[in-house]
Amino acid sequence: MSGGFPVMVAAAEQAANGVKKLRFVRTDGAALPPYSAGAHVVLTLEGPQRTFRNAYSLLGTTLEGGAYEVAVQRAAESRGGSAFVHEMLQEGAHLTISAPLNLFSLNHTGRHHVLVAGGIGITAIHAMAEELAMRGASYELHYAMRDEASGAFTQALLSRHGNKVRFYVSAKGERFAVSQALRHQPLGTHLYVCGPERMIDGVLADARAEGWPEGALHAERFAAPAGGEPFMVRLARSGITLKVGEHQSLLEAIEDAGVDAPCLCRGGACGQCETTVLEADGELQHHDHYLSQKERESGAKIMTCMSRLRGRELVLDL
């Protein structure tokens, strides 16, 4: 994925324990393009050893004067990207940011919107609540966090959304009772969930058990690609052979080799990086949310941003 905008960090502050908020403006002073709530961007971070490309949801609204804001949580098991953001990205730093992409947009035909955030998943949900408030739409926001110190934007959310917001602090034993919250929602309600993988799975399972139709369920997962044992990859068309390291994704290894491979969301959701597998000496490990069970079983396709091989060598049509 080439292109994007050269930007600099206009402001950097601590938004909560382990959460850093960054504001970006274009280096040439032009305005960054508008976006809708739920959109994310990919930051290209030139680390000392390697380049990171991480996706982050955009905060706030597009009316921020052509600037973008993200909130980055320092991952407990950081692959290096979030640690780099926390330690190295200060005001005045230069980097490249992709055009915004929205795979988690509001359905504006909805009569009511139930927003559910867990931890740093609040960034996308925060933007959605703001957009709904501006439109005068009907909504409610449920925000689960580990403890009060790690919950970002709680004061801002309270003053903006008042009694439409509920906080659940797990350190105080508070839990979001999903089934209860969903049971009596009127026809035309949509549900949006962003947070840790396990929380998303739990909320969606509860919604399905309450009989909600699939089309009313929306989720965004920002799982980092799982690491694994190193393996070799041969790109048949480019004639390149490369090694995918333990903590590296297939896509990152391909990019490091200088090949401009297709990709967009870097989270296994959008389908852009779907690549044809020509040979696989080993077992494909699919970690995306895009391929169907049937496609997975066929072994003919792989999503390079999230998935990898357990085995010796993978040959791709690239």
């Binding site: 909805g110 009569r111 969903l182 049971r183 009596h184 929602q185 009127p186 026809l187 035309g188 309600t189 399905r208 058990a209 309450e210 009989g211 909600w212 139709p213 699939e214 089309g215 009313a216």
Partner: protein, 209 residues
Amino acid sequence: MQVSPITSRPLYGRLKPQVRARQHIALTEGAGLSAFEEAFGALPDILVHTTLIHIANPSDAALATRLEKLGVDSLHMRPTRETALVKLRAVLSGAGMGARLYVAGDEDFIGPVQALALEVGMMGEAIQAEHRGSLARRVQCVHCKGFNDDVMVSPFTCRHCGTHLLVRDHFSRRLGAFMGVVIDAEAPGDVPPVETLQPVPVLCAEGRP
């Protein structure tokens, strides 16, 4: 029997109760009642969460007895389509996201029922329809906007404005009606021979052919 190349042309399946739903709302007319009985009859656990609205004279005691034996949670007999739709609107206004709607009957009845459910916010995937009965279509004249029920042939003359209309397979989910377009605009009065409208294939409950 051919599948229409017009993708908006509705295709109907067989009713299949969604076991995860919290509430089942069924609306039947004529032979549509048999479709409901076949799909729900052996499922007492689902029937106790089912509201059935059937179009029939409420003073038909024999029919009322047959319906009561089904064991639904709530039963409503309404004499006409109009009164049944009023009842449906009231039931949907109290329904939640766990509700599913099932409609069975003539094609020109299914359309307006689906349109009402969509209008009050129900998702298309939460609505099932089974076609039992007449092939007659509900057609909107795109020129005068008048609705014509019980249309069996094409071309036909709009009952509101007298225009000669070709009945197209184009279907509006919002209006619950097919589109009727003037057929003799170039040469007024030059109308092709009348043909009887053809049925569409019946599908399995899961999808398209």
